[in-house]
Symmetry: C2
Subunit: 297 residues, 2 copies
């Protein structure tokens, strides 16, 4: 198949559809009682984290979701950070809790996860939600927003996940691993590649869909891609003043059938997806109230 | 590469090595206090489950591990089954707890997992252990014995897991998914295929190592395999009076470089591996006693 340039598929439409649904549900909830409420824990001074927290507050305001940013100093003891997560989890006025990552050195994530109520875990980081995702029992789980967004972008590129040969480049806990699990559950044939993969090209050339989530700027090049493949760029790397993906845009665009841009692709959908997860959390909490004895996902 | 017949690699040596280590550690523990103790919960009348429970007791006796089989009727209410798991978990004289699977219809697994102490979960079924496995944080986790056994058998076949292209056929919660996660952590490039994979041969022919864990008798045939590949058969299917693997032995043996048999392959190692997990559980419990506030894996 010859290719005269990939279609660049932005995340704008998908994000707009998600936002529209969220706005309608949030308005419903506000008139039935109070608007949805998301707590964002921002620990330390990472400028990107502060930016992402602010973006959530801005989007929340547009959609009718109250977003409170809970700030803690970088020097906060791990036990106090965990206690802050516990307070947000225990607060009946808080529907969802998200911890901005990365955490400052000295604050490990697992003790924070242990204090996070799985039913309020809107980025799917708790053991209960991760185990449910991993085992393909998603019906009562909250799943990582970026992984869900990648799947929506695959579909937006016109590809059917079921039965597709998908290569996931990267095995991190935020995108690569959760995405691979979710794709397996959705009946894709999934290959996970990473820094120790002997010949990345050999693997990628077999893939109908490539998701780049390695955190390495411009790792995936046109020479590695099967002509006509859909290439989803889940990378967000700060290079100088630029935000750069994991895909070398020009060379891939010349070979691929479809390509998602950075910025304006997966990331755009992810912020909207977190708000959709807040709505889902409320729905699951309400469904759970009726089913005594069933533990969170 | 031409092949004049695969080496059939039994699990006997690997199992013997594991058993020798376990026996030495168990003797040490017995003389320092009491022997290790494993509770096996056997719910219902599945004859295969009863056989596996008995095999654990027999092996435990040989190795110096006390194994108690706790029997519950198939009609036991789910809440009582969960309570039995909770009692075993809370018993200071019990070091490890395993629930024989499959459970009778009407008893779902998740509520049982919720009552199982992750530190005593010697087959890695609790959310805490599964999340740790999934996220590649294995240092304080207990992992599913069959997945660990498959990895030992890959190595026994003379293959290096790091960097290997491994195809895992099957995505079940007992073998396929946990094995894929453990292989990714050990730096293999992993493809997970399953019933919805369009062309299994196309995927398997790229693999240096194939692990068959689909639960389908003789699914993997010689025509699908790359000459010289190592083929690990993790299937145990009852066909009439025979125990049959997921690999069509004769046709695969003509093409593969190495092949593990059924019976006498992965399964042989798995029973020994559960005993090794009992020892590991005790080691982790002791290490954990010194580190207040750190939750189980």
């Amino acid at each position: 198949m010859s290719s005269t340039g990939a279609t660049v598929v932005s995340g704008a439409d998908v994000a707009a559809t998600i936002r529209k649904d969220v706005r309608a549900r949030a308005a419903e909830m506000a008139s039935a009682g109070r608007p949805p409420h998301l707590d964002v824990l921002l620990i330390g001074d990472d400028p990107a984290s502060a930016w992402y927290a602010g973006a959530k507050r801005t989007l929340g305001r547009r959609l009718g979701i109250d977003v409170r940013i809970v700030r803690l100093a970088a020097e906060t003891p791990a036990s106090e950070a965990a206690a802050a997560v516990g307070r947000a989890s225990d607060d009946a006025e808080v529907d969802g809790v998200i911890v901005e990552l990365p955490l400052p050195p000295g604050i490990p994530l697992p003790p924070l996860c242990d204090r996070l109520d799985p039913a309020k875990d809107v980025d799917g980081i708790t053991p209960a939600n991760r185990a449910a995702l991993f085992d393909g029992r998603e019906d009562r789980a909250l799943l990582p927003a970026t992984a869900l967004s990648c799947i929506r972008m695959i579909e937006r590129c016109g590809r059917t996940v079921r039965g597709a040969a998908v290569a996931v480049v990267g095995r991190g806990p935020t995108v690569g691993r959760p995405l691979a699990a979710a794709l397996i559950t959705r009946h894709a044939t999934v290959t996970v590649c990473h820094t120790r993969t002997h010949d990345l090209s050999l693997v990628l050339r077999e893939a109908e869909v490539v998701v780049a989530a390695a955190g390495v700027p411009r790792l995936v090049t046109g020479a590695m891609i099967r002509p006509g493949a859909a290439v989803i760029d889940a990378g967000t790397n700060q290079v100088g003043d630029d935000l750069v993906g994991d895909v070398e845009r020009d060379s891939v665009a010349a070979v691929a059938g479809a390509l998602t841009p950075v910025p304006g692709g997966v990331g755009t959908v992810t912020t909207a997806m977190i708000m959709a997860n807040v709505i889902r959390a409320i729905d699951l909490q309400r469904a759970g109230e009726g089913s005594a004895g069933v533990a969170a996902p």
